[in-house]
């Protein structure tokens, strides 16, 4: 079984994240990392590959530093990495990124068929959750998003997931090849060990450009984006903040404050 995992390089959520004047997330703060939620995607792929004797390719689209995201995937145990690196990709929205990733998956399929595409449930920078389903649509694959459980039957060639939505819980199944996005509730990602880190140094990272993927640059990046940030500003600090230490009447004071603020 051949599994491609799409991963993203994002600013560490524990860091002081910023938007630039162009409204894009600042990605050169030096504290970028593999999107935490994508670790669950890598883990899911590795676990399936171990169970069904498969191979895992980690794939990312992003600037120079983004190679760190696929390196982390290799350290965790992926076999191969692909980095789509092209200046014209900058400023892509989720739909543009899906288009580039789809082209890369098709490129990989030319070598050997891809059975499963796995992604995290969302990028912790934009948190749009649009990418997985947009990618499935681009690739014309059935989508099984938000998996909190995932099984693959290699003989029947099906994937089955359970997903929890706001108002219902669903079990969905589809024939392979398919796309699955996973939640952080699915598994506990492994830490790269020393052996993994050493082995990763020898594993190849293939760099691809838009031209090599046959993607028209005007359809992706800032040129192809269908939305444009007009304005981005740090939210003003909250005013009139109150901090009390309970000396026996804090509950009463809280109630009075809520009434005074017309919050009840």
């Amino acid at each position: 079984m051949r599994i491609v995992v799409c991963v993203k390089f994002v600013p560490d959520i524990q860091s002081d994240r910023q938007l630039g004047p162009d409204g894009r997330v600042v990605r050169d703060g030096g504290d970028g990392t593999l999107n935490e939620l994508d670790e669950n995607a890598v883990e899911a792929a590795l676990a399936l590959a171990e169970e069904h004797d498969g191979e895992v390719v980690v794939l990312t689209v992003g600037p120079d530093d983004a190679v760190d995201a696929v390196r982390k995937g290799l350290q965790m145990g992926a076999d191969e990495a692909v980095h789509v690196l092209d200046d014209d990709v900058a400023g892509s929205d989720a739909i543009g990124t899906a288009r580039v990733l789809a082209a890369a998956v098709r490129h990989l399929s030319a070598d050997a068929p891809v059975d499963l595409v796995v992604t995290g449930m969302a990028g912790l920078d934009g948190l749009t959750s649009l990418l997985p389903t947009a990618l499935a649509e681009e690739l014309d694959l059935p989508a099984l998003p938000l998996a909190s459980s995932l099984t693959v039957d290699p003989d029947a060639r099906t994937a089955t997931v359970t997903r929890r939505l706001d108002h219902a819980t669903e079990t969905l199944t589809a024939d392979l090849p398919a796309l699955v996005s996973v939640t952080d509730g699915l598994n506990e990602p492994r830490y790269p060990n020393f052996k993994g880190i050493m082995a990763a140094r020898k594993k190849p990272v293939t760099t691809l450009t838009l031209a090599e993927l046959g993607v028209d640059p005007s359809t992706v990046g800032a040129a192809g984006a269908r939305t444009r940030v007009l304005e981005a500003a740090p939210r003003p600090p909250r005013e009139d903040r109150v901090l009390v230490t309970d000396t026996g009447d804090a509950g009463t004071r809280l109630a009075a404050w809520l009434v005074e603020r017309k919050l009840v």
């Binding site: 959520i13 524990q14 994240r17 910023q18 938007l19 409204g23 997330v25 939620l37 929205d93 989720a94 739909i95 912790l124 920078d125 948190l127 749009t128 959750s129 990418l131 389903t133 947009a134 649509e137 989508a143 099984l144 998003p145 089955t160 929890r164 939505l165 706001d166 108002h167 219902a168 819980t169 669903e170 079990t171 969905l172 199944t173 589809a174 024939d175 939640t183 509730g185 269908r226 939305t227 444009r228 940030v229 007009l230 304005e231 740090p234 909250r238 903040r241 109150v242 901090l243 009390v244 230490t245 804090a250 509950g251 809280l254 109630a255 009075a256 404050w257 603020r261 919050l263 009840v264």
Partner: protein, 326 residues
């Protein structure tokens, strides 16, 4: 863009009642439509009759009822239907309630139709004919305004972003059946099982005006949290620790990978305010924190913070509110 109708997906429960945020979206849609009409799209086999009084009060002129054998819970099928409804209504702007399912359908529409998509907007305006979505990002720490530059726009709007108001002039909505040609590729996913979550008797977490949240500090005893929520008519939420411990159902988890809430009032009790949790609640209107540790990070974002024991502070606040409310 003002000259064309605005289309709203009419999210509803299994008994056909509209989800509360739909009224908010219809209010917003009227505002954006200007002289043009507001249309609704109804997906699913439930009877639309129960919703008509609300839709009439909101001034909706036409409801496009999708007719298909395929399961509209599948995002691919829903996207087929929404695409048909966009065509039938002539709308160039579609508003949906922000939910995972709706975002999945929005992503598909964007790929299929070239529409520009913005998710989790907390406001939508028109500027020089362009749709501009307002959005809070990076765990509530930044505000942005984002213009849709494509000819058509799909925007998912968070609950509590707009105060719902009935139209000055009510309407008598027309219900029109809209047969949907479902693409064969849209039914490749099979729904093996679908279980609706039992109603709690409390408002929906995602759309409640007030949310009271319990964390590890409750040590599994949610009684004070529930009592305060009930006095305030609010929903009960939880941190990941509380759901992982099994103290409350997983659907109560608030945070970046749980439910995103932006109620008028958030009260966190025994919640430290970890960044993963903040990502799902920091955009709330007013934030109250009750925590015994004065150094808990949640105090950095709290409008009203109480350093104290939740087991004394919450019941006292509930009792006082009951007294004040008479």
């Amino acid at each position: 863009m003002t000259a064309t109708p605005v289309l709203v997906l009419l999210d509803h429960a299994a008994d056909g009642t509209l989800r509360p945020p739909v009224r908010e979206l219809l209010t917003l849609a009227r505002d954006l439509a200007g002289d043009a009409e507001v249309h609704g799209v109804w997906a699913g086999g439930e009877d639309v009759a129960a919703a008509l009084p609300v839709l009439g009060a909101q001034g909706v002129t036409t409801v496009h009822r999708l007719v298909t054998d395929a399961d509209p819970h599948l995002s691919s099928v829903l996207a087929d239907g929404l695409q048909a409804a966009l065509g039938a209504s002539g709308a160039s702007l579609l508003l949906l309630v922000s939910s995972f399912e709706n975002k999945e359908a929005a992503a598909r529409l964007a790929v299929r139709t070239g529409a520009g998509v913005v998710t989790d907007a907390d406001g939508v305006t028109l500027q020089e004919g362009q749709v501009v979505a307002h959005k809070t990002v990076l765990a509530g720490t930044w505000t942005t305004r984002c213009a849709v530059t494509a000819p058509s726009a799909v925007v998912t709007v968070k609950a509590n972003s707009v105060a719902a108001q009935d139209a000055a002039v009510p309407s008598d909505p027309r219900v029109v059946d809209l047969p949907v040609a479902v693409a064969p590729s849209s039914t490749r996913v099979r729904v093996v099982e679908r279980t609706e979550h039992a109603a709690s008797g409390r408002p929906d977490l995602g759309s409640a005006h007030v949310v009271v949240v319990g964390g590890r500090g409750t040590e599994g005893d949610f009684a004070p949290v529930e009592e305060l929520a009930d006095v305030l008519g609010g929903a009960v939420g939880a941190t990941r620790v509380a759901t992982d411990e099994g103290w409350i159902g997983h659907d109560a988890q608030i945070g970046q990978t749980g439910v995103t809430v932006s109620p008028r009032l958030y009260i966190g009790a025994g919640v430290s305010g970890a960044v993963h949790h903040r990502g799902g609640m920091q955009a709330s209107g007013t934030i109250v924190a009750v925590n015994s540790d004065p150094d808990a990070p949640i105090f950095e974002i709290a409008d009203f913070g109480v350093v104290g024991d939740l087991f004394t502070v919450l019941p006292q606040a509930a009792a006082e509110l009951r007294r004040l409310q008479g």
